[in-house]
Point group: C2
Chain length 305, copies 2
């Protein structure tokens, strides 16, 4: 399977919570598959770290917002104008919790004239799903004082095409692609030649929230779970509770319970100058924890067959 659809790129654009710092941009992540991109959160200066990354702007078809606190959305007007300047004409999807449209339209007071339309999609605090490009986007309401969503970005993988079966059934070669795309043709059905759905990709993202009972199931078996770790020092536990954020150990516990493959921590408090100092707190709970760094990237590839 070499059709350019075998790789899923993820980039953690920034790792700061609350305010952008000279060496730490605000938390957000970019996803790229088959040429299309999806951005989660867009705080002040996200467009700068995006520019540093070099994946371009034009193919960002969807921006998902976790919630409307300024450190997650303050970069939207500038981003919209930069997308406009990049020549975008296709409608941009903006997904977020209930109320996202009103906030975005307020911010558009300084970005009124765009070269594209915006399609707003508001999700409630339950579980919801929408498919855009190849991305299956699931949302789950989490706990942060204001409407907030955790995201799961999955890319399912079809079953394997059974060449021998197709030849045995004398299915004309010109029909094969149609069947691979899941459509019937001339009496032939996909189930005749397609194997069972194979393992695809799943990456989850959660900022900002206290841990919730539903999160482990929501992130279950993810290839990568990107989660906030606002504080590392156990003495700040009460602050985490009061401000509705997570401790490092709490993120690690969700990763363990959800049986994810890898955990990246992000959204560090500005007071947390060296997050690496608390890595062992996580590793004792979930070994494959990585302290996030700006523009850290990962490419997921399909397993053979």
């Amino acid at each position: 399977m070499k059709d350019g659809k075998e790789m899923f790129d993820i980039c953690l654009l920034g790792t700061s919570g609350m305010m952008p710092l000279p060496k730490r941009f605000l938390s957000s992540a970019l996803f790229r598959f088959n040429g299309n991109m999806l951005l989660i959160d867009c705080g002040e200066a996200t467009q700068i770290t995006l520019k540093m990354l070099g994946w371009g702007f034009k193919n960002i078809n969807t921006i998902c917002f976790t919630h409307v606190h300024a450190d997650h959305i303050s970069g939207l007007p500038g981003m919209l104008l930069t997308l406009s300047n990049s020549g975008r004409e296709e409608t941009l999807n903006i997904i977020g919790p209930v109320g996202i449209k009103r906030i975005c339209e307020n911010l558009r007071a300084i970005a009124p004239d765009l070269t594209f339309d915006i399609n707003y999609i508001e999700f409630d605090q339950g579980e919801n799903q929408i498919v855009i490009d190849d991305f299956v986007i699931n949302t789950l309401g989490v706990k942060h004082g204001v409407n907030t969503l955790a995201y799961s970005i999955s890319i399912p993988r079809k079953g394997k095409f059974n060449l021998e079966k197709a030849e045995e059934l004398n299915i004309p070669r010109t029909y094969w692609h149609v069947l691979q795309n899941g459509e019937e043709i001339d009496g032939f059905t996909p189930s005749m030649v397609m194997g069972e759905e194979r393992k695809g990709f799943k990456v989850c993202y959660c900022t900002d929230s206290r841990p919730t009972d539903e999160l482990p199931k929501f992130v279950s078996d993810a290839d990568l779970f990107i989660c906030e770790g606002m504080y590392g020092d156990s003495e700040e536990k009460q602050k985490a509770i009061d401000r509705k954020h997570m401790m490092f150990e709490e993120a690690a516990t969700i990763a363990k319970e959800g049986n994810v493959n890898e955990l990246w921590l992000t959204h560090f408090s500005p007071s947390l100058t060296n997050p690496q100092e608390y890595i062992n707190v996580c590793k004792n709970i979930f070994d494959n924890t990585i302290i996030g760094k700006d523009r850290m990237t990962k490419t997921l590839k399909y397993e053979e067959d």
Copy 2:
């Protein structure tokens, strides 16, 4: 005169126009005198370059906006929250062209809860003046398609205190400070002992605008004139006219006609990767031209007597 009031610090925080770049923040300037600060413009990521500068946030008592295009104001919500987090309680002054309040209040959709009040001051496109802290702030309407103001930030300097005269007139020493502050006391008046007003400081700032007939007089004899130079290449003249920006040579001409001491260019087009390339265009017109760089600073000091 060594009362801590003899130095006027100016910092060009950024030099980019249109969008922030990894190595060029959006155009804005910070002024500091006697512990108080004044900021002109606050685009996306201005708070990052401010943080790099290290002068702190808390004493920014006034933010002046040239106009409401996103690259000049998109950093406001984040800045307000950062000022809040710095513990500010004093009212913040926001000065701008007519309409500034409506735009700022729209942006405050993501910065609703602040620890301080905002005092909005809207100036029309004529000439206006207000005094805040030690800053005498003059505005002039310029030409950019939307309401736009050029600023002059001056700090006047009193005349010299005539010690011999004060002793000759037998003015009690305890009265001297009162007279120096411009107040009468016990039949003695300031004019008895104070010389003529001496040369103070004057720094002017103009982005974005086409050249106007009034600008040379407005910036006349300034110690420093910070002016936009969106394009350097003469082939882009028509673009400058269409988009209502200035060429390097046009900024230099205003500096020359206004007889300013020094010109700093800023607000470079993202396409202008090496502004230094066009420095001679300016120097042929106005020799003391400097191509602006992020966080370039200057300290003006009173001349002797």
